[in-house]
Amino acid sequence: MDQLIQQLINGLSVGATYALIALGYTMVYGILRLINFAHGEVYMVGAVSSYYLAEWTMGWTGSLWVALPIVVVGSMLVCSILGFLIEFLAYRPLRDRPRLVVLISAIGVSLLLQNLAQFPELFGPTPRRFPALIQSTPVFYNAAHTIVLTNLDVLSLGLTLGLMVIMTWVVLGTKTGLALRAVSFRFDTSMLMGINTGRIISFTFMFGSALAAVAGTIDAIRYDVRPLMGLLPGLKAFVAAVLGGIGSIPGAVVGGLFMGLSETLVKGYLPSAYTGYADAVAFVLLIVILLVRPTGLFGRVAPEKV
């Protein structure tokens, strides 16, 4: 029983970062019907920039309460600028082209960022441990230490939850959110109703990238920082977004948590010889879901009018 609870905690903690990345996929898809395959690399840049920010802040402050907000907010800023630039330089000029062209451009951006990060001047190919700004330490545990909740779990779940609340409010309670919903329903028409769609698209990319930056920061602290670290979480978050129903915001959250849980449960309960297949399970899940429910859990079936 204790083991199950522990696995659930781990699963939610991992799943929360998938959810944060999946939100970026789903928001962009909701507006442009585009899978932004460079999104995993935005997460990687989030990790890299929080690494450098942590190094820098540790040079002049020992206080975690000063350093951590700077690291988190700083990497969010870096990534939202990156997200803006990716859209502006690689996708916007192709707006009127077939969607496949933009998709290829997205894959190009992804490869570019992966390889840029391997330049020793920028980061280098070797994995680096996150600076000792914050260490994983238990904050809640039972007497036997069989159930442990670490500060990283709290950080991961707390940040994700908080950001989700903010995001729901932005989408449902602000003028930008109203325009965002309108654009996602009818792109061309919203333009004719006076919505500056270019600005809404930029906003969407910046917002989604900032969320990916938070996921990158959490995983940088939890694991390490590598130029190719965006590949697998990026793919898994994409699966999570499809699972929840791509274009759906609650779907991305549920999908992300589901992916995290399935991963840790497979690792925790399959014989150790098979734990290497935990990732394979994720992709088998994707295939099964697409077969059974092509629009995902929360996906809307949109009949196309001719």
Binding site: T174, K175, T176, L178, A179, R181, A182, F185, R186, D188, T189, S190, M191, L192, M193, G194, I195, N196, T197, R300, K305
Partner: protein, 254 residues
Amino acid sequence: MSLLEISNLSVVFGGLKALCDFDLTLEQGELVGLIGPNGAGKTTTFNIVTGVYRPTAGDVRLDGRSIVGFKPHQINHRGIARTFQNIRLFAGMSVLDNVLVGFNQSLRHGFAGTVFRTPRHQHEDQRNQDRAVELLSTLGLDDRAMEIAHNLPYGDQRRLEIARALATNPKVLLLDEPAAGMNPQEKIELSGLIEMIRQRFGVGIWLIEHDMKLVMSICQRLTVLDHGQVIAVGTPEQVRADPRVCEAYLGEPT
């Protein structure tokens, strides 16, 4: 200087001359019709005026200033709004939100104002909400404000499209086949509604419509298009008597 002035407007798609030397003037409070057989270039004309297509030649002036080359949202801000031949509401949003989208583009506070809930932001929000409800009640949709747009009956959806366009505070309102799919009773109500909008909102209305009874009864002037060419201009009586119009569109008088 007219409210809307279109001169020598032409557009070519590949080798097809979809519109050729189109001229029109529209004054404030005027109601002008655009008719012609299917494929004549009527909706194309609307698409050029609202910035969806760029004209190959010619000029469109609103209040004396050219709007050619502006993006659709900029043209909307300058005062041209439209509805669509096949309904294009924000289907999954509430009736009220559909109208608020229009109003919100005129909000002055930025995103920061929303985040920090400044008094000005709250004040503007409330005022827009009030204006939206008032507009909906003018069009008889206030009791449906909270319903999801695509659940409305067809006639109400058409009226909501007009409400949404009016919410952007236009000087010129383009209506693309507003009576399409309506029954005779709804059509009678629609002509009353259009007349009311013309007087109450002081807009110039430009209307594409196939229902001749409706067009002839409410329009002050008509332009007839066929194969991208203007074949007749004049009052409904003049147009009805024009032999070229009868041949191309209306059929022989019986």
